[in-house]
Symmetry: C2
């Protein structure tokens, strides 16, 4: 299958980077094709603004929603957005790997969603295209995340609460919203304090997950 | 009281802008002092990276968490972050006003959190400073948001689900996490299709809320 691997970590020597490399090797072993959007390395701009559009429908007032709809009809997106859309169209599966920041995406990845998952491309309220009829239906997706805190913080009754409930804003209201099938989220807890041995075990656990997809 | 008003909308002629202006007038009527962080107008950079730091603790590997802790000990943040921290220190209340993007913050506001609410400033895992002992304890906060979709989408059993549950990643795991008291979230539903009359009513409803704080 074709995999788009959207990745957000600043440091090539990080544990997150090792996880990404582990996944890429496992996908190669499977014979899958992978394109990587390495957001920090690409210097991806996460801010949805007027620069997203090559031509504007309304120049007197900026309405992001209406401009996104218009750009989808007129091939009017800036090249950096168009490039990500092309990768999504090519992909059978989207993987989002990120260290969790305040129980959600780092801003650079949130902005990738804000700018790329636009109305007319990923969903469309005007044609009732969302969830069961979302425009990305037929593709799969998965979140892969590292949390600095331990699992008890992220469990029901813990300080933060159940991580899977907290991520519903992404898994349900973002990914399923566009019609994507969502595989169970893969979480590495206590990632800021992993021993070398535990890090190895986590990489192996992730490798096996990718091989089992 | 002193209010920091963190605001994220691109367009000065938008309904969101009218809401902000309504709030600022109401705060003036109350005799409160307000500082506004108008994130798009400031061209605020939401990406947490090496440029956040004037000096680095570790130059061989970039670990955002350790660098943020170090910067808080050494006055080592870039000026744009320092300026926001100064406003928070001055404020008794923080208000975040934004159009909801995929049931969460727009990236520009998420990045404000990622970069400004750093360990050592807003919380500190090393000293067990979070929630009841969060470093911003004593201050209040409130989310103010507009949703394009109608209320039934954002209710229990609706397509997205209960908006207050979806926002817990912000209200609980971000704001309460730092010790902030969180007032009930103010939501304007169906904001993309408000009639002129309904828009007026919503502005009046918001004005009354600010006056009642």
């Amino acid at each position: 299958m074709n995999v788009l691997y959207v990745y957000a970590h600043q440091e090539p020597k990080s544990f997150n980077s090792s996880m990404k490399d582990t996944a890429l090797e496992a996908f190669e072993e499977r014979g899958d094709s992978v394109k990587v959007s390495d957001l920090y390395a690409m210097n991806f701009d996460p801010v949805l603004d007027e620069n997203d559009f090559k031509n504007r429908k309304y120049t007197d007032i900026f309405n992001p929603f209406l401009e996104q709809l218009h750009a989808n009809k007129t091939d009017g997106f800036a090249p950096d957005i168009k490039a990500e859309m092309d990768k999504i169209n090519w992909a059978d599966m989207l993987i989002f790997q990120f260290p969790i920041y305040f129980t959600g995406f780092p801003a650079i990845m949130k902005g990738w969603i804000d700018r790329v998952f636009s109305p007319g491309f990923a969903f469309n309220p005007l044609t009732q295209s969302a969830y069961e009829t979302g425009l990305l239906k037929g593709k799969k997706s998965m979140l892969v995340t590292t949390a600095g805190a331990d699992k008890d913080w992220y469990s029901k009754g813990g300080m933060h609460g159940d991580i899977h409930e907290l991520l519903k804003s992404i898994t349900h209201c973002t990914l399923e919203f566009t019609g994507l099938e969502v595989l169970p989220t893969h979480v590495v807890y206590g990632a800021s304090n992993l021993s070398e041995d535990d890090a190895k075990k986590e990489l192996e656990r992730y490798r096996e997950l990718i091989l089992s997809l």
